[in-house]
């Protein structure tokens, strides 16, 4: 076996514990898609094409609220801005790779693939870090797709009377608490959240975008103040 393939397999194997978290999240995305009226093909198609769960859930909630398309796009892109940091962190390890691998594996970059790869690199850099990352990313992507398909079948069995739309804020809540690391991030959340309450009546759900931006400003401002 080539050393590159060895690293690929090691990466795939190291991602197994993380996959236990990928399965339910993909299920939730599919079930959520069905609950706002998408059919199973659209639900799986969304997970297949977009492959970014938190932003998918945000878009689905906005579809449920009848928001306008550019607010959906903007909100999803803002949520996905974090990929810029992942991209910058992984870039040194992919620089000598050909485009035919860089592009597809950039496409399936995920929170989990970034997390597993960077924690490996922090302890011991693999001989072929790019191939290690490929193994992790592909294992996560395949698990995501299969779970999304299963979730779409499951979602069809859940009656609308269960009030499943309340699962949206609950899922965002878990993701939000994971993002609260220090005082400035808590301030960002409080300002973003409170502004969103006050601007709820704005047309086209524009309040969401205003709230997100104000929250980010507040966080940056609090951070600067703390450093002085």
């Amino acid at each position: 076996m080539k050393p590159t393939h060895q690293d690929f397999l090691t990466g795939a194997r190291d991602s197994i514990p993380i996959l236990l978290g990928v399965v339910p999240f993909a299920l939730i995305c599919s079930v959520a898609a069905i609950s706002v009226g998408l059919n199973p093909v659209e639900a799986v198609g969304m997970s297949f094409i977009v492959f970014a769960g938190a932003s998918q859930l945000a878009v689905l909630q906005l579809i449920g609220e009848g928001a306008v398309w550019f607010v959906m796009l903007f909100t999803a892109w803002v949520i996905n801005l974090r990929f810029i940091m992942y991209s910058a962190s992984l870039a040194p390890y992919l620089q000598d790779e050909p485009l035919r691998r860089k592009i597809p594996f950039a496409y399936i970059l995920s929170d989990q693939a970034f997390g597993v790869t960077m924690s490996k690199i922090a302890t011991q850099v693999p001989a072929n870090p790019a191939w290690y990352y490929y193994g992790v990313a592909l294992a996560i992507w395949l698990t995501w797709i299969f779970s999304a398909i299963f979730g779409a079948l499951l979602g069809n069995l859940i009656p609308a009377s269960w009030g499943l739309e309340f699962a949206f804020p609950l899922s965002f809540m878990a993701l939000m608490f994971a993002a609260l690391r220090d005082r400035p991030t808590v301030i960002a959340a409080l300002v973003g959240g409170t502004t969103a309450i006050l601007t709820k009546g704005f047309p086209y759900n524009l309040g969401l975008i205003i709230a997100a931006l104000l929250g980010i400003f507040a966080g940056v401002f609090a951070d600067k103040g703390a450093k002085k």
Partner: protein, 106 residues
């Protein structure tokens, strides 16, 4: 959804997200991540997610309701405790939804 085709939306979402994912893998050696962007990105998840969560809890049937009659708020506080302790999506949904159904039944 206002006549905008769903598949077009998915493709636009995916292309924009791919641009973010590929950004610095492509730009490596050409451009560094600017400091102001690095600083701002730290606060994106907390701010956006809170902006999605807060209104969903305090609005009931389209009107602001911060009282014990608002079962979304009560179930949401329960869910928040679980989210805070576990940071786990599945557990938070499970406990929050059960609270929601129980409160609805009363």
């Amino acid at each position: 959804m206002n006549g905008f085709p769903l598949w077009m939306l998915f493709i636009a979402l995916a292309l924009g997200t791919f641009a973010l994912r590929y950004s610095f893998i492509y730009l490596f050696g050409k451009v560094e991540v600017p400091d102001w962007l690095r600083d701002a990105l730290k606060f994106v998840p907390a701010s956006v997610l809170a902006a999605l969560v807060f209104p969903a809890l305090v609005y009931s049937e389209g009107t602001l309701d911060i009282s014990l009659n608002n079962i979304r708020l009560l179930a949401g506080i329960g869910g928040a405790l679980v989210a805070w302790r576990t940071k786990n999506v599945m557990w938070t949904i499970l406990v929050g939804m059960i609270l929601f159904w129980v409160l609805q039944a009363f």
